[in-house]
């Protein structure tokens, strides 16, 4: 009994972390999608704005306490619980007639929690799970098609026809809707919420903002800087380059090869678009070169010797002191916490902030580090269960969340003049006090109500000025930037992080990202077994490759273990999936 609890508790810790981020990809959906949208869709969204507004004004505009529908919702993700008497939730309830009690994943995996729900045969009204397939199999969800058809604007704006098709289950119905990954109006992304080689602005400034295109350039500037400046102002020794390698976060070590080769973040494999074939980035020439360079730097003593044993907390602490000059990581994995500390310690003014570099194996190649496309994950989303007594109203609220700008602003910006102010030009902004309140845990519980797993938009709002998500508001972004960062961006002719990394803008194939398929692999197929084994072997051997006295010998040893996992099984199954898109 005790053992079981312990296990589950730990799972909680593990999962809190891993579910936040998925395998390096899904976080881009959860933490506010900052991506541009394909042209056609943006236009479609803009053109039908008026009709949507007209539609929602006909609706009933106030509900008394008796008329409010109380729904329950379970999300198989860790999240922030709000109080029962949450103020914005109450305002939403009075205006739109629905109040939702959200419960979040605590101490279990999504699969376990979903499994228990199915076993108990008692469901909340709404459910949002990464395991919607399990719920569909168990007959826990109601088909949404007829409801979707009742709201043509919603149907048109929310997904394209092909996207809706992706959600259609074998029985021909749609049971859930992914609430993330849609952009309205103009794309407003300012941050590069993806992976990159990061470098501190002070290093670039010291070197006179050189062009950095390859790993050789990158390490050269870092080496030069640290040789000239072995310590920080306060005497703390600088660290040239560190690698986070803890548990699932070892992506910071393992997958740079795919980007260096100029491929986008398919995660588990690379796709050769011209021949429509799957390739293994683990054995690609780019990857070998990448590790050879890392090995060389390690032998020269520029790679932090604690790299492979440090924990995530230790890594963040190290970054927070401002002494680490560069590393590979995903923005969401370090930036929010580390930037807060920089600001508090005044390190942002010293140029400690990190800027992304779009490195490639050879100079002049196109880079695809940044994901512009909205990635719609068809495996997850929000559904209505068979236990919901008023699915009609439950669905209408989903539509309201997506289509009603006022509701959207209330959820993400808060109450006007309380949580944000509006200037003469109609631009929303927050004062320092408002910002502080908004980020206060207690205030969030009592006041803020995001319903963060109901439909939401990136991009600009219907007024055409403001961003749908405050963190994407360009003026807020500008105000927040420290001088060295502004200088750095200016020197490279960039306005923001996205310009800085300079990835090519192009549409990804409909299969993108391939990791959304490999994430669902199980040990029931040889490919799934191989996939899991490959992960284990890489995690164990890649640090050894970097540390090896003789790189070639180390690499050969790794390859021997790697090939024993039968990666070909995995690749052929991935190829079969890709073939369905031919």
């Amino acid at each position: 009994m005790k053992q079981k609890r312990l296990t589950a508790l730990l799972l909680g810790i593990v999962m809190t972390a891993s579910l936040l981020a998925g395998c390096g990809g899904s976080a881009s959906e959860t933490s506010g999608n900052d991506s541009a949208k394909s042209e056609s869709k943006t236009e479609a969204a803009a053109s039908s704005d008026e009709s949507a507004d007209a539609g929602s004004t006909e609706e009933k505009t106030s509900y008394s306490e008796d008329e409010i529908a109380d729904f329950t919702m379970f999300v198989t993700m860790p999240g922030s619980e709000i109080n029962d008497d949450n103020e914005i939730a109450q305002m939403i309830a009075e205006k739109w007639g629905v109040r939702i009690k959200e419960t979040w994943l605590t101490g279990q995996t999504a699969a376990e929690a979903t499994g228990t729900l199915i076993a108990s045969d008692e469901y909340p009204d709404y459910i949002d799970s990464d395991e919607m397939g399990l719920l569909y199999d168990a007959g826990a969800l109601i088909p949404l098609d007829e409801y979707i058809d009742q709201y043509p604007e919603f149907k048109e704006k929310w997904f394209t026809e092909e996207e809706w098709e992706k959600f259609r289950q074998p029985d021909g119905h749609i049971y859930w809707i992914n609430p993330f990954g849609n952009t309205k109006g103009e794309p407003t992304a300012t941050t590069h919420n993806d992976e990159a080689f990061w470098i501190q602005a002070r290093v670039l400034e010291w070197a006179g903002y050189p062009e950095i295109k390859t790993m050789d350039d990158y390490f050269k500037v870092i080496e030069d800087y640290i040789t000239a400046n072995p310590t920080m102002d306060d005497g703390t020794p600088n660290i040239a380059y560190t690698i986070l390698c803890e548990d699932w976060r070892y992506f910071c070590l393992e997958n740079a090869g795919q980007f260096l080769g100029g491929y986008p973040n398919d995660g588990s494999v690379i796709v050769d678009k011209s021949s429509m074939t799957i390739k293994d980035y683990n054995t690609s020439e780019d990857t070998v070169k990448y590790f050879k360079k890392l090995n060389e730097e390690y032998q020269k003593g520029f790679v932090d010797p604690e790299s492979f044993t440090q924990t995530y907390d230790e890594y963040i602490a190290k970054l927070s002191t401002g002494r680490v000059l560069g590393m590979v990581d995903q923005w969401w994995d370090f930036a929010y916490t580390v930037n807060d500390v920089f600001k508090q310690q005044g390190l942002d003014a010293k140029g400690c902030n990190y800027v992304p570099l779009g490195l490639t194996t050879e100079a002049g190649m196109e880079n695809r580090w940044h994901t512009y496309d909205d990635t719609v994950n068809q495996a997850s989303g929000i559904g209505i269960t068979v236990d919901c007594e008023d699915p009609e109203r439950a669905f209408k609220f989903i539509v309201d969340c997506a289509m009603d700008q006022e509701l959207h602003d209330l959820r993400f910006w808060g109450v006007k003049d309380v949580d944000y102010s509006v200037d003469d030009a109609g631009l929303f902004y927050r004062t320092d006090e408002q910002r502080m309140n908004w980020s206060d845990t207690a205030y969030q519980a009592s006041h803020r109500c995001q319903y963060s797993y109901l439909p939401q938009w990136g991009g600009t709002s219907d007024d055409g000025i403001n961003a749908n998500k405050p963190e994407e508001q360009p003026s807020e972004f500008q105000n927040d930037m420290a001088q060295p960062l502004k200088d750095c961006f200016a020197a490279y002719g960039a306005d923001n992080y996205v310009d800085m990394i300079g990835s090519v803008i192009e549409d990804n194939g409909p299969w993108f990202p391939m990791y959304s398929f490999s994430n669902n692999f199980t040990t029931e197929t040889p490919g799934g077994v191989a996939w899991a084994k490959m992960g284990e072997i890489k995690h164990e051997y890649l640090p050894k490759v970097v540390m090896a006295k003789d790189f070639d010998a180390g690499w050969d040893e790794y390859m021997e273990a790697y090939n024993a996992c039968k990666p070909e099984d995995f690749l052929s199954e991935m190829q079969a999936i890709l073939d369905t898109f031919k």
């Binding site: 009994m1 609890r5 589950a8 508790l9 909680g12 809190t16 972390a17 936040l20 933490s31 506010g32 900052d34 329950t72 860790p78 999240g79 922030s80 619980e81 109080n83 419960t103 979040w104 994943l105 605590t106 101490g107 279990q108 376990e112 499994g115 228990t116 076993a119 108990s120 909340p124 941050t191 907390d313 230790e314 602490a317 927070s320 002191t321 969401w332 929010y336 916490t337 580390v338 930037n339 807060d340 500390v341 600001k343 508090q344 310690q345 993400f412 320092d432 910002r435 502080m436 980020s439 845990t441 207690a442 969030q444 519980a445 009592s446 995001q450 998500k469 405050p470 963190e471 972004f477």
Partner: protein, 298 residues
């Protein structure tokens, strides 16, 4: 105890013992003091690490966050109730069972012991247990906290060992006086078992006090049966979610004292540790100062 002249060996022993205890106290106290220091430290600042025995940037914010969590009082009430009821129930049940299997003449003592010993090493898994509780209508009630774990082989064996150590003559003489087994249990054995009862009570109480997984699993939707530790787990989960999210980015100004998982975890740990530490002295006297088994000799 009579005062006696101590030999050289004894003196050396005392010196070494004292040194050992001092070292032990220093080593075991450190993590607690470190947690205490972090719990009083500013959240953002604590991310940098390097806090040892004293907070670097003092704040009460972490405790305010923990204590102002909604449902905390209700959770505390349920936790106190489950600790009290669960401990009493468990103590009575385990003591009875231990009494039965420690009777030397009991015909099934070996089989009954084996029956319980096995339960320590087998486990049906989450879903069958869940289904069972659901069918017994325990889910969604308070009783799911105290009924399922009431008898545990571990506690039973601890009690049994102690009871077996008591002289047989106690039972025999009582039986000669015509006492039944119930009387022997309640009047003769139990009063002598205070130290071990206190031990088991402490184990059960701490277990009840700290558990949250059952609340999450069986009463997730029933806020009226939420427990303190479950509320804290949810809070921690919220803070983890927030500190790594875009919505909070750029929100923490230089003068804000935002909370982070590190500091909230520490504050929650200290806050829940205190009540149980206060309970401790009441139980401790039984197993530290000892107790004389009233002059009974075999």
């Amino acid at each position: 105890m009579k005062k006696r002249k101590t030999s050289l060996a004894d003196k050396i022993f005392v010196v070494f013992n004292t040194l050992f205890m001092i070292a032990f106290v220093v080593i075991t106290l450190y993590p607690v003091l470190n947690t205490l220091a972090i719990s009083f430290n500013d959240g953002i600042d604590a991310v940098r690490g390097g806090i040892y025995l004293w907070p670097r940037k003092f704040t009460l914010k972490n405790y305010i966050t923990v204590l102002s969590k909604e449902n905390m009082m209700r959770g505390a009430y349920i936790t106190v109730m489950r600790t009290i009821i669960g401990t009493v129930l468990s103590l009575v049940a385990n003591a009875l069972l231990a009494f039965v299997v420690s009777r030397k003449r009991f015909i099934f003592k070996s089989q009954l012991s084996l029956f319980w010993v096995i339960t320590m090493y087998v486990n049906g898994g989450l879903i069958p247990v869940f289904m069972l509780y659901k069918n017994l209508h325990l889910t969604g009630t308070f009783w799911v906290y105290v009924v399922p774990g009431a008898v545990s082989a571990f506690n039973m064996l601890v009690l049994r060992t102690y009871m077996q150590g008591l002289p047989d003559s106690l039972e025999e003489s009582a039986q000669l006086d015509g006492a039944g087994y119930w009387t022997i249990f309640s009047r003769i054995i139990s009063p002598l078992c205070k130290p071990v009862y206190a031990t088991v009570a402490l184990f059960v109480a701490v277990g009840q006090w700290n558990s949250w997984f059952d609340a999450m699993l069986y009463n997730r939707m029933k806020t009226e049966y939420t427990t303190l530790q479950y509320e804290l787990m949810k809070l921690l989960s919220s803070v983890m979610q927030q500190s790594g999210s875009a919505a909070n980015a750029s929100a923490a100004g230089a003068n804000s004292a935002a909370v982070t998982p590190i500091t909230v975890r520490s504050a929650a740990t200290i806050a829940t540790m205190l009540p149980i530490i206060c309970l401790y002295p009441f139980l401790q006297r039984y197993f530290v100062t000892g107790l004389t088994i009233g002059g009974v000799k075999e």
